[in-house]
Assembly symmetry: none
Homo-oligomer: 304 residues x 2
Amino acid sequence: MAKSPKISASQEPGGLIVHISGLLPSLSPAEQRVARLVVSDPAAAARRTITDLATAAETSEATVIRFCRSVGMDGYPQLRIRLAAEAARRIEPPDARVVGGDIPPGADLAQIIATIAFNDARAVEETAEQLDPAVCEQVVEAISGAGRIDIYGAGASGFVASDFQQKLHRIGRIAFYFPDVHTALTSAALLGRGDVAIGISHTGTTSDVIEVLEQARTRGAVTVALTNFPRSPITDVADFVLTTAARETTYRSGATASRLAQLTVVDCLFVGVAARNRARARKALEATAEAVQSHRVGANRRRA
Amino acid sequence: MAKSPKISASQEPGGLIVHISGLLPSLSPAEQRVARLVVSDPAAAARRTITDLATAAETSEATVIRFCRSVGMDGYPQLRIRLAAEAARRIEPPDARVVGGDIPPGADLAQIIATIAFNDARAVEETAEQLDPAVCEQVVEAISGAGRIDIYGAGASGFVASDFQQKLHRIGRIAFYFPDVHTALTSAALLGRGDVAIGISHTGTTSDVIEVLEQARTRGAVTVALTNFPRSPITDVADFVLTTAARETTYRSGATASRLAQLTVVDCLFVGVAARNRARARKALEATAEAVQSHRVGANRRRA
DNA sequence: CGCCTGGTGAAAGTAAGTTTCACCCGTGGC
DNA sequence: GCCACGGGTGAAACTTACTTTCACCAGGCG
């Protein structure tokens, strides 16, 4: 027997609180006391037990339940979780970060962390957005069919080059990385048709890398450039150009955003190559994972 | 009372879910089943009763309670409302990317790129959210005042260690990185009070790194661990623990997300240290930037 | 005055959450 | 190979939270 008018609040999309305050006047005195508590601090109410809330509203648990039904809930637990959800939603996202912004001199560490993370995440996202899948596809194709892959990079980009080399190696592709220009040049001279040379340079102006890539191209290898600047010198010696999208304000954040963007691109290429031959790649990965197993200590459990 | 090591989750600022996935490997099998259910659909879990959830996880209510305690909650009701809040906060991204999900076999490169970028960006953001500024501050403090800083890391984490070393070096701090265990051990043995040793290990189980960190600690150095798993063995030998929040499904994405997360943390520490002495750091950075200038080719202009 | 009616809380009842405890199973010492 | 040990587990006992029932008390009305 529907004694209650059934206010249809069974699923209020965005405003349980609003809904409650709307029907506040139609509630009985005791229920109103409950309603006011709930509306004034939903988060706190969500944390309370029914007895607690009843006491705070100077009424009985029974009334609280009646209140729940009056506003369209099944019972107290449901009200509780809806309240928690509602309260959480209201907390404004702390969106005031400036993209690519510098870090203010007086900033505390929490601010620094937020700013860095925001910019880093941004760089990754934006890089992915502007990456041309068609070009990636061709690069993946070239790598997959390559007899040998040489990867060049200096300084910070050297880490990325090295990382890429290691990744490709792990799935059984023959890849090299040279930290030193002379060795790199020597290697490039030995490349030929069907081989691939990849040059990584954030600015696109690192002469060492350009030089080596040029050499590789002369020998008939497919050349790939990974840089942040689509019109930089390195693109002149590359058959394919992949770009990152880090808006780095010079050095302040340790140039990490550009590194992350580069790594993301490398990862995409890697997964693309691995996906070309799932079975083989997986097998290779498992084998390598197993190899380091003996260097891991017992389970990842509670301390003794 | 305090049987549990108290993982401080009592108030995770932005990421209960993240927190849980971090602890996942340190949980017992039955608890892991519960954790997986919760992580995969927090909103649904919040709606369930404890008995319901226990049944779904094919375990007993007792285990669910144990799980609640393991992740730092008081009991099931608290978990429930926190879950509801968490679920509400994340305005679901329009795309149906599976977080931490595998890449479907038939995926084209565009999909692969989107998925990878999404997960990578996510790892960075979530890592920042759960980073404890207070701990960072202490680590920054230690690094700033250190006579010498040793950084250890094996395999993939080695790149990060190396990157960190380079960064600190660039702002004039005396930092070392050792790719080889023996050298690292030797170095650790020479550390003393006032020095800092930093160990990086994604899984937190790399015995080489743990061993070296332990040695450093014995010698009186301040030890810092950077890992994805707050209860892994490496945390036993660290004075300060910093965690990343990459929910990597093993190898598929080349473990890049965890790398990015680590780099982000490193970057935060770096900027923190640099901020302590702006003038000096800036000067050092400018000097080093100038040093590589001669290896850059002409302006970043259009091709000739 | 007596009957109805809506609002209320006490108390009874049910379901949810929590604790206890015995069992199992793998580990490591003897 | 045996046995003690300790962690992981679920059944059952237990406690607390939630829900229902019901009797009571106003106030309104015939």
